[in-house]
Amino acid sequence: MLPTLNLGGVAIQTYGLMLLAAFWLGLQSADFASRRLDMDPDDIWNAGFAGLIAGLLGARLFYVIRFIDVYAANPRAALALNVQDMVWWGGAVAALVAAGIYLASGRTSLARAADALVLGIAVAWAVAGLGAFFSGDAYGMPTTMPWGIDLWGARRHPVQLYEFVAGLAVAGLLWRLIPRRVFDGWLALVGVAALAGARMLVEAFRAAPATIGDGIRIVQVAAWVVMLIALAVLVWQERRPDQESSVPLQEGQSRV
């Protein structure tokens, strides 16, 4: 476990550093994928940074709205450079909307951009898992398996490393499937289904999960639903009467 790096008397949190690395490596991976999809990689980077800026502003805006009484008494606090004062789901929505608007307003097909970005999301998930491993967050259940790690008073599933491996495996799968794309957006749907499926599997080993009913893990259910929706859309796309064929596209070729 390496939760902080002490550099020149300043303690830098490794999880935060790894999240930054996840963002950059994710965009870099999407850049590589976009080149194989005959896209301009600049569109990916610009959409990524538009999403980042909108995400940070959106996350803070939602937080300020949530604690409006506190910020009304001290409005300058709304501009504080503090990443803790964020509503992350609000930031995610704002980031997706901003990136979507940027891509939709340009020459790039939104569906094809999603094909490139899903590969980046898989890589980012893997790196974020590594960050959680360093910080000791999101730890696993106790185990007697030989690959268990000693953490927080018990030998535990290295569930953060499972995430790392699963993210890289999905990214590798998507990379190999690029030449087999059937239509723009196909890789994104396959990627979302694969990522959600992997999350559903990995989440089973997480300690102290949020549950509903008889111990059912909420994150697993959410991932299961997302996976089923992605697969259902693939079925629907395949059965659309205007779908020309299931012959894979050539790299960079488009069929929406």
Binding site: N6, N82, Q84, T143, T211, Q220, L231
Partner: protein
Amino acid sequence: MQETTEQSNRSPYVTLLVLALIFGGLWIWQTRAPATSEASRVEAAAQREAMPQAGFPAPDFELESATGETVRLSDFRGTPVIVNFWATWCAPCRAELPAFQRVSDQYGDRGLTFLLLNQGEDAETAQSFLDELGIDMTTLLDRTGEVSGRYRVRGLPTTVFVRPDGTIHDVIVGGPLSEAKLTENVEILVR
């Protein structure tokens, strides 16, 4: 018609969808977290060991206050406690103390206690610093750093939010903490 039926039968997506529906549901059911499973019993045993991590019991400590009294964390069992590791030379610590005082004033009648654990300084230095800022909270002297070591503090300030049952709700490394962030966590503690 027959051709369409054969085509749909061959569709890998339909097969995957059905498999995901069945095996996904089974997996979720099989891996749920019931209180009676072996893993949960082991987990519960592990949880009994105090650890400076959310979800675990907060490590207990006994320290002398700046006014000479002996204070134990476990004395406050049944009420929410915020443990803050700080020092006078730490600028973010100084910046967040006024927000601590405001939140303390607001939630004091609901049992909220702040324990300010000064790191390595003497009582006079710590107390005169707090008096200057108008901070009126229990100040404890962790002279040898023994408690900060037990809490694996790697940077100042570090703030630990302890629920009334003695388990840790959250640990925030770094600062200054905003009043909003404090309020967000305190609202959970006093719920």
